[in-house]
Amino acid sequence: MAFENLSEKLSAAFKRLRSKGKLNESDVKEAMREVRLALLEADVNYKVAKDFVAKVSERAVGNEVMESLTPAQMVIKIVNEELTALMGGGETRLNSPSSPPAVVLFCGLQGSGKTTHAAKLALMLKNQGHRPLLVACDVYRPAAIQQLQVLGSQAGVPVFEQGAGDPVKISREAVKHAKDYGNDFVLIDTAGRLQIDEALMDELRRIKEAVPPTDILLVVDAMTGQEAVNVAKSFHELLDITGVVLTKLDGDARGGAALSVRAVTGRPIKFAGIGEKLSDLEVFHPDRMASRILGM
């Protein structure tokens, strides 16, 4: 299960801390070193881990903690609080438009799961009684449009496509189509791109300008390592994303990417992908995830 390993490492560190009676500064320092290592082994970004530990340490070496009757307990509580804060509060829903349709733009690196998750969300919305429209704006990848069409038909959701046209124009026309045909959600699939690809990043900016979306979801593979921060930062700076979809959580990734992405964007993880089937989509619960990491 994702996060399992991080949780084990943290509880080991906490156990050692608890076995001590009174704590001195070096006990806390040692425990923080272990927390930092646990985070790094879980692929939490180097700087994020460093900042996190600095923040916890600052709170933990205060008199209030050192002189309390159960100092270890207090340190653990601080780690819990900071971790939960880092993950964000309760679940967050999609934004509502002032007038329909709601437009959700999916973006992210190559292979992160955009196309699959556009279709998964379409199915989820359809099951809630909505009338979503999928839009094929990946005009580059071989068979990307067919992939979306197959998934759309599996979900029983229509797919708007204009072949290998201009994604900006396609997305604009898709929204018009949705208004004409009473679709209350427009879900736009885009091509995977590197955050350093200026031309393709600019294409996203122009789609945003043309539509404009009610949600811009960055799709992030849960197995991502240190790179997660660079990706999240760049996409967020350019597009002001509204949330994250964390995919492939059915694997055994340690999930540090979740913490990193959240830390650098401040945007919530809205959905979690937990499999290849279209029904394998969950609304993300940060507090539950934090508890799971901490083994609570």
């Binding site: 290592l37 790094l40 082994e41 879980a42 692929d43 180097y46 690196l109 190559q110 292979g111 992160s112 799961g113 580059y140 990848r141 071989p142 068979a143 990307a144 067919q146 992939q147 069409q149 197959v150 998934l151 599996q154 590197l194 955050q195 350093i196 593979d221 197995m223 991502t224 390592g225 240190q226 790179e227 997660a228 660079n230 990706v231 492939k248 059915d250 694997g251 055994d252 990734a253 340690r254 540090g256 990417a257 290849e276």
Partner: protein, 288 residues
């Protein structure tokens, strides 16, 4: 870099660079231990020489085993990995590379699961001038592999490259399916040279180690293809994989075009690993 003397902060800085390159805490620690030892042993005085020494240590760890062993006619290359790492694209590029060397290549569309996976490979077959063997979506992948090898024998092809569906390594039934495919290849082409290439996305963190471990036990891997190195990630986790499993990196993927595949170069890889973010953005992997 700004270091003027060799002290603790220099070693810390280097360890940090390794960790930021996804080398992993433990391997980074071991590499730095070795660096300290060598710096002492060789009496290195100039910080720049420390960098060079570190690059050499890393490159030496990764060197060797880059070449493909595909001497027999036909030879079989099985391409495996988790979802979305670049398997199908790599196959397209590899087919083009082998085709340009005058080899006749057959592609086996054994990802019968993912939506439009067959159509995607079909486009790559056209681009690379390879022939495609396929069945319909949902058919048994092992049977597609069987057909592909039979076709290669009948049409006197040089190489068969089989695509497979992406699968997470913790899924028992999917890994078992892979073992079955692997057994079919051994049975149908017992005397053929066989390569099993694990494709890893360079942006992957420490999870890549358990990917390699599990895929290794399902279908003996012969080498790694590290994709998406045209981005800013460094792919340092291959160092841990080399340490633990001895698996060589054979190719790197540096883009989405047909010629964006390069033979792995340990020295170039080690150099890139220690470049800072700002510098990396300007590094063009593709002109190596």
């Amino acid at each position: 870099n700004s270091f003027t003397k060799i002290d603790e902060s220099l070693f810390e800085e280097l360890e940090e660079l390794l960790i930021m390159g996804d080398v992993g805490v433990e391997t980074a620690g071991r590499v730095c231990e070795e660096l300290r030892r060598k710096v002492k042993e060789q009496g290195v005085k100039d910080p720049n020489d420390v960098y060079d020494l570190l690059r050499t240590i890393v490159a030496d760890m990764l060197r060797g085993g880059e070449e493909l062993k595909i001497g027999t006619k036909p030879s079989v290359i099985l391409v495996i990995g988790v979802n979305g790492v670049g398997k199908t694209t790599t196959i397209g590029k590899l087919a083009a590379l082998l085709g340009s060397q005058g080899k006749k290549v057959i592609l086996g569309a054994a990802d019968t699961f993912r939506a439009a996976a067959i159509e995607q490979l079909e486009v790559w077959a056209q681009r690379s001038g390879a022939e495609l063997v396929k069945q319909t979506q949902g058919s048994d992948p092992a049977s597609v592999v069987f057909d592909s090898i039979a076709a290669a024998k009948a049409r006197e092809a040089d190489v068969v490259i089989c695509d497979t569906a992406g699968r997470l390594h913790n899924k028992k039934n999917l890994m078992e399916e892979l073992s079955k495919i692997s057994r079919v290849i051994q049975r149908e082409a017992p005397d053929a040279d066989r390569e099993v290439l694990l494709v890893l996305d360079a942006a992957t963190g420490q999870n890549a180690v358990s990917q390699a471990r599990e895929f290794q036990s399902a279908a003996e891997i012969t080498g790694i293809v590290l994709t998406k190195l045209d981005g800013t990630p460094k792919g340092g986790v291959v160092l841990s994989i080399r340490e633990e499993l001895g698996l060589p990196v054979k190719f790197i993927g540096v883009g989405e075009q047909v010629d964006d595949l390069q033979t792995f170069d340990a020295d170039q890889f080690a150099r890139a690993l220690f470049e800072r973010q700002e510098e990396t953005n300007e590094t063009d992997h593709s002109d190596a």
